[in-house]
Symmetry: C2
Subunit: 384 residues, 2 copies
DNA sequence: TTTAATACCGTGTGCGGTAACGGAAAAAAT
DNA sequence: ATTTTTTCCGTTACCGCACACGGTATTAAA
């Protein structure tokens, strides 16, 4: 295994750039690992007329190699299509890689629980390669908590980081530090506008809103759409659902120019206040048939209300497969959920980092938008 | 790595059963690999007062070990929670595992192409563990071709088999032979009623038909549903879409008892005849608004017709994400597609076999029903 | 010119297994 | 009692790589 990504020729394209002409680089790239690759470090050494120790020094860019030898060795490596055997590599090196995962903390049944499950899945994969995973949680409503999490991660000197960002500026500061330290990082859920990240796995938020509106309206003569929102303190927050709401609103104004969009803010912690707000909504909207949307994962708040009030004259669309949302879907208080496999996002992030650390291969695509799954009562039970 | 699954103590619970009491087995099971597990074969040897050669013989049940030593060693293994390091194992053993994948052959853009892609994905995973993959295709309309494929696979003596069955009896005969040889096999797409398989990955066919009907009717006052079917020769064939059609019909008769279901058979190879049939359909149905379904992946046949005839007064639902189906969806000739990730099914099958061969761990669940994805024009572009 | 410093490079050991080999002890045959 | 066979087990040589170590040219300092 390569000692550290930033010096290894397999990890750092710049180094290979310096020494290897394009056509050979192509050969290297073309080379497919594991496929009867019987070229060993000894073959390379022999072909280059040096010892394997020297080849190893080149491979890991540990220096103490003359420019001439280095060039020759790199050439031979390319020509022979040598790739280190990573079983032997892992076996011989006693390195301990660590990937830290920074995500919001959560209660049972909440959105981020699924992400944590994905982390466990990813752990299973990375564990095979001797890479350990450390989840680090923060309170998504508390900036300082996020700062503490970042500091903790930096202190543990991880080899890679997975991060679900919520605080824009602080995150940018943090990833800047990671870049300086040459620690690869992967965004999940949402990403920021820097571009030093190794990969991003998340939902296309704007399109999810657009899709949501399409399912909500579904050709009906819709005259008013209610967006239920969570009243939250938002200093420094980068709420990804804003983008989703934009997509939703755009669809409405394109397809239903006369449709009114009404925002209702509810309090997640105060049931009475919540019910009051919703009562008000129902009182004020003369249309017997209501169109209701929530852009975050909390549509079960609406469903609970409808259930309690025994109201069935609504078309309600929400997001994400929380257990509460699913039961609302099954009971018919929510007509559809738009879901994403946020567990797969987390798992993919870890897989990408693992492959990067072990195989020195970046992911095929940098930005990976996960599919938007439409769930109704007939297919939700097969949604894992 | 374990020499062969049937003798290896990690592969065969029976052997462990014989020698290790329950509470120790629990300890073994609890043991988590890779997590700072520093117990090596030498530790075991030392603790058992034998050489590592003897331990190795026990591990692989190669015999030439006294009952007493064996017992002692197994006890120590359990107590210490020893698990072989599979890097070292793979490195040291020059074994060549082979997984054969038997699937129908296909032309570009057809259903099984996606499955083949999944095989490639799986190959990437299995390749990491020195396991090679051999796809073997057969003509799904030609029994003898299937028999040839099976014979070929048996001749290559694979360590594991992935199979997408189409011919019921022949497949049962084939998997019986695999069982006798102690070769694990995994079903994809559909499965048969034997239960010797290691795992199954596929879509819940009945439910997919049910779901399809729900999306097709969607609350409309539907009085007639047209099922377009492919006229095919079907001796000995086990067509999985039959089940799907059943689900479809059941939904209709439950929700629309007065609705008429009409079957129209078209010829995939004869365009003129096909158009003739569809012209006839449109001529005979007085309702201006038609509800059309195809239960296989060929809904693009209908879409092409509608495009050519410039007909837009249909609600058309189909299955699977062929490129032709997608463009029909985008152009509005098909309203929705119900899709499955058949690539993931294949990849999961290979992964399961790989883990079984390398780690001696069966999959968490034997029957794995993949989710049913509802695709419309707004989310299909994010479907990978 | 001698010596010290530096730049380069080969050798060797070990990581945790696998499996062939050969030998000692026990059992069986003579 | 001796020989032969069988049973059982330790030794040893890898597998491909990482890395410490020590050595030899080469260059700089004295």
């Amino acid at each position: 295994m390569c000692g550290n990504g930033k010096n290894c020729i397999f990890g750092n394209p710049k180094i290979i750039d310096t020494f290897v002409p394009l056509y050979i680089r192509a050969a290297v790239a073309r080379f497919i690992m594991h496929e009867g690759n019987k070229v060993t470090i000894n073959d390379v050494a022999k072909a280059a007329g040096v010892s394997k120790g020297t080849v190893d020094r080149v491979l890991h860019d540990r220096g103490e190699v003359s420019a001439k030898s280095k060039e020759k060795i790199l050439k031979v490596i390319a020509e022979l299509g040598y790739r280190p055997n990573f079983y032997a590599s892992i076996l011989a090196s006693k390195k301990n890689y660590l990937i830290s995962c920074i995500i919001p903390e959560f209660n049972d049944g909440e959105f981020w629980e699924l992400t944590e499950k994905g982390i466990d899945q990813g752990k299973e994969y990375s564990g095979r390669f001797g890479i350990s995973i450390e989840p680090v949680m923060y309170d998504q409503y508390d900036l300082e908590s996020f700062q503490r999490a970042c500091a903790k991660v930096l202190a543990s000197e991880p080899s890679g980081v997975v991060i679900a960002p919520m605080f824009r500026n602080e995150t940018l500061k943090f990833v800047k530090e990671l870049s300086d330290r040459n620690v690869p990082y992967v965004y999940i859920d949402s990403k920021l506008e820097d571009d030093g990240y190794l990969a991003y796995y998340g939902m296309p938020m704007y399109q999810s809103g657009y899709l949501c509106a399409d399912i909500l309206t579904d050709g009906h003569p819709v005259r008013k759409v209610h967006i239920i929102r969570i009243a939250r303190d938002k200093r420094g927050l980068s709420d990804p659902t804003v983008t989703r709401r934009t997509g939703l609103i755009d669809y409405i104004s394109e397809h239903y120019p006369d449709c009114v969009i009404e925002n209702t803010f509810i309090d997640p912690k105060d049931k009475a206040a919540r019910y009051g707000k919703l009562d008000e909504l129902f009182r004020n909207d003369p249309d017997p048939w209501k169109y209701i949307v929530m852009c975050n994962s909390r549509v079960h708040f609406v469903a609970d209300y409808l259930r309690d009030r025994n109201i069935r004259t609504c078309r309600v669309i929400g997001f994400d497969v929380l257990e509460k949302n699913l039961s609302a879907l099954r009971d018919g208080y929510v007509q559809a959920l738009i879901a994403q496999h946020s567990d797969r996002q987390a798992a993919a992030a870890i897989t990408a980092l693992t492959d990067y650390l072990i195989l020195h291969e970046g992911p095929a695509k940098k930005d990976n938008y996960t599919q938007m799954d439409i769930l109704n009562r007939y297919n939700c039970d097969y949604y894992i």
